[in-house]
Assembly symmetry: C3
Homo-oligomer: 140 residues x 3
C-alpha cells in the first residue's frame, strides 16, 4: 500500500466564498502515482468545508443566501454563545456542519472516479486569513 | 491491497424518494472478496445522496417534509438563481447537502460492520431519469 | 495493508449531548501501530453522530439550540410520523443528518493529521442508554 499527503492553502478575500479545487486534487492524484485507492480531501479548519457539487455561480449565490438563513452572521454573544470567547465566527461553525468537513473520492485507473458534474469545492465561512486543506491518498 | 469497483443505476419514479441499497452493497462486498477494509458508497450525481439511517416509511415521509421546508421545490429563477440556467432543480442541490454525498463503511470479517439498525439509502431529489451510485472497496 | 478495529461505548445522561472522543481515537491509532493510512470513526446508531469541530462549551450550547430549531423534540406522531412506531425520537434521526454519521481522518507518521483546532466528538440525540462508536483504521 502506498500513501501520499499534500496540503493546499487558501486565503479568500471575503468572509464566505467557494473555490473550485478539483484541478489541484487531480494534480495530487497524478503526483501520488496511485492507480486504485481512496482520496480524502478535508478542511483542516473548523470554520470551513470541503464538498462536492456544481461549478455554477448561481448555485453558489443560492448556497450563500441559504446558509445565511440557516445560520446568520451575528458577532453578538447573544445570538451565538461561542462569541462570548471574543470570536465573531459562531455562524461559521454552523455553516460548516451543513456543508460538511470532508469528501472521500474513489481513485480508479489513476483518476478521480467522478460522475458527469462532480467538482470539489473549498467552502470558506470565516475567510480573509490563510487556511489549509489536506489531501491524503492511499492505495496501490 | 485489493480494490473493487461497481456502479448501481437507479431511476426513481418521483422527484424525491429513498431506496434501500444495503443488499446491493452487501453483494458488492461479497464479490470483492475483501475481508478487512473500507467501503465507499457515493452518489455520482450532485442532486442525489447516499446516507445511512432507518428503513422506516414514517421517517422517510418526515425527511421529505423536512427537506421541503429547508429547501422547497420552486422552478422559478427568483427563488433559486441556479434555475436561471434553465434547470428547475435548485432545491435538489440544497437537499443533497443536508443528506450528504457519501458514506464510508468499515468491512470486518468480510461484512459491512454495522450497528443494529444501520441501512444504506440512495436519496433522490431530482428523479425520473437514470442516475448512478459508485461502490469502491479497498482492503485485503 | 494492516487493519485495526475497536468500539467505544457511551451512555450520556441527557437526551442530547456532545462528548470529546479525540483522546480515545488517538489511543486507538497508537494501538493499531499504523503509521500511514485512514481512520474511520462512525456512530453505530442512527440517532447519533460523529463530527469534528471545536471543544468550546458555548458552541455546544449554540449547536443544541440550533438543532432544536431545525428539528424540535416532539414525541407526538403528528410532528414526526416516525413516532407512530411507538418511538419518541423522530427528531434525533433528523439532528443526526445535520451533524453527520462519520468522519474520516488521515493518519500521518502515526498520528491523526489534524489542523490546529480539530477535535472529534460523539454527538448524542437520544441518550440515556449505551451506544457505540466504531473506529476502523487501515494502512501500513
Amino acid at each position: 500500500m502506498r500513501s501520499f499527503r499534500k496540503t493546499l492553502t487558501f486565503q479568500l478575500p471575503e468572509r464566505m466564498g467557494f473555490e473550485n479545487v478539483t484541478t489541484a486534487v487531480e494534480t495530487a492524484v497524478r503526483e501520488s502515482g496511485i492507480r486504485e485507492g481512496l482520496c480524502l480531501v478535508n478542511a483542516m479548519h473548523i470554520t470551513a468545508s470541503v464538498f462536492i457539487n456544481d461549478d455554477e455561480p448561481g448555485l453558489h449565490e443560492d448556497y450563500k443566501r441559504w446558509l445565511e438563513w440557516l445560520a446568520p452572521y451575528d458577532p453578538s454573544p447573544e445570538k451565538y454563545h461561542h462569541n462570548r470567547t471574543g470570536e465573531d465566527n459562531g455562524d461559521a461553525h454552523h455553516k460548516r456542519q451543513i456543508m460538511g468537513r470532508e469528501v472521500v473520492v474513489a481513485i480508479t485507473e489513476g483518476k478521480l472516479d467522478f460522475g458527469p458534474w462532480e467538482q470539489i469545492f473549498y467552502g470558506e465561512f470565516d475567510g480573509r486569513r490563510p487556511k489549509r486543506v489536506l489531501i491524503k491518498i492511499i492505495g496501490d
